[in-house]
């Protein structure tokens, strides 16, 4: 890690801080211009909208439902205390105390606090509770105490809701998370509305407060709260606790922001609600028809919202809100508006919108945006970005219809036609019949290399024949199976694919089915990307997935291999003569350190044989004989005493200073022996210049095990 850390110092720097400052200046100027045009619009559009949301209906419904339950349970709890007037009075006092506490937290005037919808709702619930004819219902004090606690929950401020969420996470509860967010958002919006009412009430006072450009008026106001009348001061004092702040969009308004408290939401709620958490921080996307975000950013939000709308369950309040935001924003990006000009003075679509539309049409997946924008982009390109019948027909309704079709899995059929009939398939191993079928298919195929033989054939057989070609050391046949999109044709080296190089470099690997008990493919894993379908075949042992192979279905219903990794045969390992210098020793010391930290099984899998030999010798040099013991091959499990004896013997041997004694190291593996063991030899060359005694070369016989290379014995 330390070496890599030093290497990171070499990350080149071409970043220009001046460029950032120039862009910031430009952005400030742009915002300033926009402010002026928005001022009138805000006041003309300012409408107080009170709404009874699904969440409030749910809460009230829950409340009344619990009373119905009480009725059903009549006479079940006869021994419990009955409701008295004194008890009801006490209940009311408790409620008023909690109510006063919230008003104090908000430092809000009584008249305004009373009008907060979530407060009003609790007042109504409380009133219902206090006037209900309990005598007839046989309700107990405990029942009412329980109801009161629910009413108090409803009174809690958004900040309190998050604090409680931090104590009791809803990470595992999808429905509760979404309900929580619905209520949270509603309370936030009610507070924003109340704050905006305060701002309008004190409009003149705010206008008198002059701030010189480029300072942000909202920021300065928040820093200078003492200069304002008490109601404004109190609002500024407390609004940040609810993740609401002043925002200057031409007029000073209250707006939700992504505070530290807000970020706790994502952490403590179910992952399927993350999209809604983000939406709450970003909305509104359009304010009075004016887009809030630049089109490049809006594009990202459209795609994010679309993803959520296609994966989350519809039917919730938040889903409906998001759908509405998605439709409005997508419409604005594509169709434009009085405030969003998508064409230039000459009637050509502006470059930023061309790019945005292309991005929407080319995401490769089956989405409403791809479905709607593909024809628009195609037609626009034909007319040099001036006309498109599909663009003319594009409407709010067409977006909603596309969303519905996507949700009902209809969109893919419309865009790409019917999916081929692909079925789930599982093969248990060993399976002589399957193996025989694979051999037959291979023999038939390797004569012709005609892939049409595999039309409609299960991907498991394709993997089987591909794997069998490896067994038969037939890379040419294996090559036929690779899709043209596969990594083999598009590897990271940047070199163009060359058949001869591929054949030269090809080496047989262990069978993909080694240690495998089950090969399985599920049609539910199919995923479309543009014209093709993709999937994977899993290979399992004891229900653990040991290997996965990615496949791609072409237009002729033939499966192709996307990527395949074969574990190398030990016999293929070789290491050319390498100097034992500081670079080599860095690797050895690092490997030694890593292996020393292993707490249980001694697993050298993945380490080159020469490195294992090097660590073995280095361990001897520094007197770590236990490490040496662990790196040795033992054909039987030793008792603790035997192990101690062997370690003691090693301790008595002459110490060899590894780096001093040898000047180079190499390794050559051998073919698998008749005893089915994989062996190889590490060769060390002595440093004759240092006049060290002994043979010029020393050999370390190595043996490969399922846990990597081990030292068998040393000789000269």
């Amino acid at each position: 890690m330390e070496f890599l850390k030093k290497s990171y110092e070499r990350v080149p720097s071409t970043f220009d801080p001046e460029d950032v400052l120039r862009k910031i200046d430009k952005e400030c100027q742009k915002n300033h211009t926009k402010k002026e045009s928005n001022t009138m619009m805000y006041f003309s559009k300012k409408v107080t909208v009170w709404f009874v949301s699904i969440a409030s209906i749910f809460i009230f419904g829950f409340f009344t439902a619990s009373f119905l339950l009480l009725e059903k349970q009549e006479q079940a709890d006869e021994n419990k205390e009955k409701i008295t007037q004194a008890f009801l009075k006490d209940l009311e006092e408790k409620y008023q105390k909690e109510r006063t506490k919230r008003q104090a937290l908000l430092k809000m005037e009584t008249e305004r606090f009373d009008e907060l919808m979530f407060v009003k709702r609790q007042d109504e619930r409380m009133n219902y509770l206090l006037t209900y004819d309990f005598a007839k219902r046989d309700a107990t004090q405990a029942d009412l105490e329980m109801e009161l606690s629910k009413v108090i929950e409803g009174l809690k401020l958004p900040s309190e809701m998050i604090e409680e969420l931090a104590k009791k996470s809803l990470e595992q509860e999808e429905e509760e998370s979404i309900l929580f967010l619905t209520v949270y958002r509603e309370k936030v919006n009610e507070l924003i509305q109340a704050y905006n009412d305060i701002l309008i009430k004190h409009e003149e006072e705010i206008q008198r407060f002059i701030v010189e450009a480029p300072a942000n008026k909202a920021e300065v106001m928040m820093l200078s709260r003492k200069q304002f009348s008490s109601e404004l001061q109190n609002m500024i004092d407390t609004m940040k606790n609810q993740s609401i702040r002043l925002f200057d969009s031409g007029v000073i308004q209250a707006q939700y922001y992504e505070s530290g408290l807000h970020r706790k939401l994502e952490e403590k709620l179910h992952h399927n609600s993350t999209g809604y958490v983000n939406m709450i921080a970003r909305e509104p996307f359009l304010k009075g028809g004016v887009p809030i975000y630049p089109v490049e950013e809006a594009l990202q939000y459209v795609l994010e919202m679309q993803k959520i709308l296609l994966t989350n369950k519809p039917g919730t309040e938040l889903y409906r809100i998001m759908e509405s935001e998605f439709v409005s924003l997508l419409f604005d990006i594509v169709k434009g508006s009085e405030y969003t000009k998508i064409v230039d003075e000459k009637g050509f679509v502006k470059d930023e919108y061309k790019e945005t539309w292309k991005a929407l049409s080319n995401d490769g997946y089956v989405t409403p945006t791809a479905f709607l924008l593909k024809p628009i982009v195609k037609e626009m390109e034909k007319t040099n970005w001036q006309k498109s019948a599909s663009w003319d027909a594009f409407s709010y309704e067409s977006i909603k219809k596309a969303l519905t079709m996507a949700r009902e899995d209809e969109l893919e059929r419309i865009m790409y036609g019917e999916r081929p009939d692909v079925r789930d398939h599982t093969i248990n191993l060993p399976n002589p019949e399957f193996e025989q079928q694979v051999i037959q298919l291979y023999e038939e195929f390797n004569n012709t290399h005609d892939m049409s033989l595999f039309k409609g054939v299960s991907p498991i057989y394709v993997v089987g024949v591909f794997n069998y070609a490896n067994e038969m050391e037939d890379p040419e046949t294996m090559l036929q199976f690779y899709s043209e999109n596969s990594a083999i044709y598009n590897d990271e080296s940047g070199l163009e694919f060359d058949v001869n190089r591929y054949l030269e470099r090809w080496k047989k690997g262990f069978s993909l089915f080694k240690d495998i008990e089950e090969i399985t493919f599920s049609a539910s894993t199919l995923e479309r990307y543009n014209n093709r379908l993709y999937t994977y075949v899993q290979m399992l042992k004891n229900d653990d997935v040991l290997r996965v192979l990615n496949l791609e279905l072409d237009e002729n219903e033939i499966w192709h291999i996307q990527q395949a990794f074969f574990d190398p045969l030990p016999s293929s390992e070789e290491q050319a003569e390498t100097p034992i210098d500081e670079n080599f020793m860095i690797v050895i010391r690092h490997t030694y350190q890593t292996l020393s930290e292993l707490e249980s099984e001694w697993d050298t899998n993945g380490y080159p044989a020469a490195t294992v030999a090097g660590v073995f010798l280095y361990a001897g040099e520094i007197g770590d004989y236990e490490m040496q013991y662990n790196l040795q091959f033992h054909d039987k499990v030793h008792s603790t005493n035997e192990k101690e004896r062997l370690i003691q013997e090693a301790r008595l041997r002459e110490k060899v200073l590894f780096e001093e004694a040898y000047k180079s190291i190499s390794f050559q593996a051998k073919a698998q022996g008749s005893d089915e063991q994989w062996r190889g030899v590490t060769t060390l060359t002595r440093d004759s210049e240092k006049g060290l005694s002994g043979s010029k070369k020393q050999f370390i016989s190595m043996i490969w095990t399922e846990k990597g290379w081990k030292v068998d014995k040393t000789s000269e």
Binding site: M1, F3, L4, K5, S7, Y8, R10, V11, S13, T14, F15, P17, V20, L21, I24, D25, C28, A215, E219, V220, M222, R245, E258, G260, R263, K264, E266, N470, P475, M478, E484, N485, A487, I488, N490, E492, S493, G494, E496, Y502, R505, W506, Y529, N530, R532, Y534, N550, E552, Q562, Q563, A564, F565, F566, D567, P568, N583, T594, N605, G606, Y607
Partner: protein, 185 residues
Amino acid sequence: MDEKELIENAQQGDTNAYGQLIDKYYRTVEKFAYQCGVRIDDIPDVTQEVFIKLFRFLHQFNQERFTTWLYKITLNTARDYYRKESRERDKHAKAKDDRNSVEQHSAETKVLVFEEDRELHRAILQLDEKYKLPIILFYFQDLTYQQIADILNIPLSSVKTRIYRAKDRLKKTIEQMEGVKHEGS
């Protein structure tokens, strides 16, 4: 001017103060972005985006936690880059710009001269984000467990566990990469 004053002044709209903050931190952002997987030729764009976003949100900062914010914003910007990147380089996409790939490879070898470094860097990038980020922040950014917990919004105990598990997974990833080298080709 000390850092606190710089932040305060920048919060008031003083671009000169903000310029000084950029000078102080842009190397941190560049290195962190690269460690998170941003390609070398995209680092200037990502860094620029970070400082523009940072300025937009500057008013929200608690001065004591400036660096925490800086890392968070870098992380989000790098994530956005990942998203764009994943679209461009989707495993299914055939189109591939070989020339860029060669240039990128060559640029990488200038930073990570040793093959071991490149291997470890790639192995870290292959880790799940929940493991990758704590290990980057701890080993390469020298942050404390508490700072990492703040940046990633996770409990302190999770940071320790994730770093421990990350090391374990890193070893396995490197082993797998050794296997990949021998792709059935």
